[in-house]
Symmetry: C2
Subunit: 220 residues, 2 copies
DNA sequence: ATAAAAGTTTAGATTAATCTAAAAAAAGAA
DNA sequence: TTCTTTTTTTAGATTAATCTAAACTTTTAT
């Protein structure tokens, strides 16, 4: 069984490697976990000894199959807890992250399976991130950035790529959540900002920077 | 903020001292926490420095006001989580303890207040233990042991004094939970065992040892 | 191609929580 | 009361996770 700290390293590496695709550098991990490179070197040696990752001196690490499975289990727990906090306890979606960071380390398969059932086996969390299933399978949705959407077309918001409280609060104010249907009404050529209409007919103007951080999927 | 370990010591001392009434010995704490007396001595020195308890060498410890408040907050969290696990996730009442031992250490006031509201501000957990309120106030119920009940009288089961899985499973099999109304039908003079009738008219014979571990309160 | 910069590792310490073994104090028994 | 037993504390180590400073590798720039 992994310690709290080991789990955090595995999760960080998973995210930084884009779900285990690419190798991750010592400094990236240190930055992400707000710790020092020397500390990271020590820890990745330990994780390498446990066969959770492959480590080549000076060339970073990449997760093993076992490491990826561990990461997926932690991500699953994190996202189920976030869903619980928002759907059942009424948290704002910008308030959930820190608490879920703690809850994801609770060790109990029974708990997580019962929580999953209680939530109705959700496929995505409140930010639109897919929740890995019990076996670590992640359902991939065909999605792309809102900035690539076409004028006049309707889409469903599927995910937001920025978890900062200010950004999430901004979106919340304009009722932009995963699951919401939007239609692109206008794309301004000079700065790439766009006007989108919500279900309730309200229109919002989004800067290019913002529309790049919102992912959408086709309207079926 | 207290560490996981510090919280466990404070909670153990709280329970062993009967809610902070009496002093607790080093050995009792070591036994309860499955650790060594030397370790306990070190830790209580640390907790004494933080003004969580009063420590007199060779004469044990007693919780300070601050220590008691901390303990009550942990107990509150533990019991709210147990209630959640049983009421919302469908855990059996003998399965909840270990998981609640982990959940009680999650740090978030918002979480615990929202959980409390979600559960409808329960006054007792599934074992009938009172849940301290936000301010640490514990509602005391006038209760006594079933073994002291009178023949023919009706009572409500209010608490069970043994948390072992086997005992709880035994009670569950006979539908004996806090909140259930029972009537004493017969008390056998030679061994003190008694026959009680449940709401559904079923009768169960309980040994003296068992009836001593079940607490009851008056039927209003 | 080589020197400077950036990134990484090693060496040596530190802190929290734990342990064993030995010393000291308190409690119980003769 | 004095000796034995039990309980508690102290001393000295250990492990996990962290740090700083120095050494070493790789990358970048001139």
């Amino acid at each position: 069984m992994l310690s709290f700290t080991e789990e955090n390293y595995i999760k960080a590496i998973y995210h930084l490697s884009d779900a285990g695709q690419l190798a991750v550098s010592t400094n990236d991990i240190a930055l992400h976990l707000q710790t020092k490179a020397a500390t990271v070197t020590d820890m990745i040696k330990k994780l390498a000894n446990k066969d959770l990752l492959a480590y080549e001196k000076y060339y970073g690490v990449s997760l093993s199959k076992k490491g990826k499975n561990n990461a997926l289990s932690i991500v699953r727990k994190h996202r189920l807890w976030e869903t619980f906090l928002v759907e059942k306890l009424g948290f704002q979606w910008d308030e959930v992250h820190e608490v879920a960071e703690q809850l994801e380390h609770i060790q109990s398969n029974l708990l997580i399976e019962k929580l999953d059932a209680f939530l109705g086996h959700p496929e995505t969390d409140p930010h639109g991130h897919p929740i890995p299933d019990k076996n670590g399978k992640v359902k991939q949705i065909k999605q792309f950035s809102l900035s690539q959407g076409k004028n006049g077309h309707k889409y469903i918001v599927s995910e937001v790529k920025d978890g900062s409280a200010t950004f999430l609060q901004y979106l919340a104010k304009h009722d932009l959540y995963p699951g919401v249907t939007i239609q692109i009404k206008e794309i301004l050529p000079f700065d790439g900002s766009m006007v989108v209409q919500l279900q309730n007919k309200q229109k919002v103007t989004l800067s290019k920077a913002t529309s790049e951080k919102i992912l959408i999927k086709s309207n079926e």
